[in-house]
Symmetry: C2
Subunit: 401 residues, 2 copies
Amino acid sequence: MSSERMPELAPPRRILLGPGPSDVPDRVLRALASPVIGHLDPEFAAIMDGVQAMLRTVFRTANRFTLPISGTGSAGMEACFVNLLEPGDTAVIGVYGLFGTRMVEVAERCGARVVPVEAPWGEIVPGEAMTEAIGRVRPKVVGLVHAETSTGVRQPVPAIAAAARTAGSFLILDCVTSLGGCPVEIDAWGVDAAYSGTQKCLSCPPGLSPVTVSDRALAAITARKSKVQSWYLDFTLLGQYWGTGRVYHHTAPVSMVYGLYEALRIVLEEGLEARFARHERNHEALVAGLAALGLDLASQAGHRLPMLNAVRVPAGVDEAAVRRELLGEHGIEIGAGLGPLRGAIWRIGLMGSSSQRNHVLLVLAALESALRARGAALGAGGAEAAAAYYRGTVGGDGAVA
Amino acid sequence: MSSERMPELAPPRRILLGPGPSDVPDRVLRALASPVIGHLDPEFAAIMDGVQAMLRTVFRTANRFTLPISGTGSAGMEACFVNLLEPGDTAVIGVYGLFGTRMVEVAERCGARVVPVEAPWGEIVPGEAMTEAIGRVRPKVVGLVHAETSTGVRQPVPAIAAAARTAGSFLILDCVTSLGGCPVEIDAWGVDAAYSGTQKCLSCPPGLSPVTVSDRALAAITARKSKVQSWYLDFTLLGQYWGTGRVYHHTAPVSMVYGLYEALRIVLEEGLEARFARHERNHEALVAGLAALGLDLASQAGHRLPMLNAVRVPAGVDEAAVRRELLGEHGIEIGAGLGPLRGAIWRIGLMGSSSQRNHVLLVLAALESALRARGAALGAGGAEAAAAYYRGTVGGDGAVA
């Protein structure tokens, strides 16, 4: 493509029901377009303070070190591991999907010895398996994915967190998809370091990774024998900029911080409990509709995420063609499966602003139509089953902001 | 600060004449507010292609691997070093300001042995000193800062690039502040890897780092003995997402890519040569005005950057108070000195959209007023000297977009 006479930027409006990004409220888009000011401007410092305070509320933590990393969720993952691991350290990591697999990759690149504790994709890792490995290995770090976006399972955390604390390990928790959509209790659970992404249940565009780190973990970082291998992600340096000193480290992504500020205001205006209930309710409605159609979930019953639904593709259906039809004819994005679930599932996200009744009804109708066109054996009335669920219950299910 | 009832986001409009960010055109702000679509959406792929094509034009390169890293300029620096260096490798780095110093820090965190070639802050590093060290050490990597933002000098590149090529070394060039404001000739100079930032002469908000890497350097990365220590910044993985395969790596910062797309369109509509001439002209006008006031530049004559002016603070003047007055009374941001130049200079940036006649006249008038109020011994008529320069010449000096 020639760079001369590049066409005007005109991205279409989509309905984002994949694994993220989710729909971004207009208020957040307008925040992005606010005038840019300097990263050392006192007015920007006040905005940074606000972001930090709101992130503490959302993470349910008093951790002083709570801030957005200037990169996406994967940068947040890398930041937690490179700061807490030194070459020769050991890590026990739960692996039951793509993001646990990625944790192993990242930890190994820190020079750590990794002991993976595996479970089939679609299941949680049993708490006993993790606590056994933690007690046996007594690792420096335990890695756990709270919301495994590749499979749709929600991993129970408290027992594993307690085992990590008993063993003197630091628990790193991946909350990329869960934060703002279901309870994340950093302090109550005793999590030492956690990271998230802005583009899931916070409904801000992708680009930042909210991170929170306990004082206990920060003390261990201060006591490291070697420097953190990443200068860009060095928590000590980042803390000096986000702390009261405002010591220049790198130029903060000012516009993205504006967007996060506004996205967090919207989250707190709705209230965390109401937001969690909304996610749960729309998930249940979707599941009711899928059941009427005879479509199964691939994630373990009793441990399903409300914001990410892994739906089994009926036998004989070209799953990519269905996704293309939803995108091309309806403007609806849903996600493909990854790894061993490639071709076997769709991932329907109902995250943040995307979690609303109209989207549930619409995606069920569109999916049913696309499947009927392909002659799939289906039940009937998916959207009506979801609508009946809403009629039979009370609670908020609308869009916010 | 409580997170309840956080005030509305209302950043002030500033005139950004510091070391970056620079003023962002309204077109770019509006681009940021475009609807978010998925990072794997075919429509986003077309936007990515456009960004890559325009970046090649701006970098003056045919390098296939030319893309924005999902982090700020410092992430781009780290990306180039972690991909090209392995533990035990050697790097020769020119150090004549903060960003050369940072290169040393980053290279050492890769486990490399660093041979710094130093020059006083405010001067370039002599080409002979660099070529001597390169020939003697025959390093894996040579690090050089094209535009040293901390001192305002422009480092000549071609002879050092040739020496690096002769020695079989890979030249990494920091173009954070130069790209889009003065000539950067990646292919003609024979640079192997270069990185920039969006928030300087491209006048996009901070958050992305345009990077370009030669096929020769990519081949060396493919032949590494060890994995790249950063998974997030691994060029091989990034190339698979930005290449034709569109293999998911991390979720691209969609809105920031929109902003960069629009910012690059504006750069190319003006034309690189016209843009360079505008930067040069407004720099010369500013220097004429400063000279009339009797204010000196701290950067070496003959090697001054047009977009970053290091102005010596007159004896006895509280430089921070002057900056506060400019910000508080005029809404003008200028920068402080760093490192050994802290307290000794102001840094006046005329970058991208900030490089315009009205800003030159205004900052001279405001600076003169702030200095007179403090009783500094000054010449007279700074703004008029700049205006006379404009009257006596022809050429574009206005804002774009």
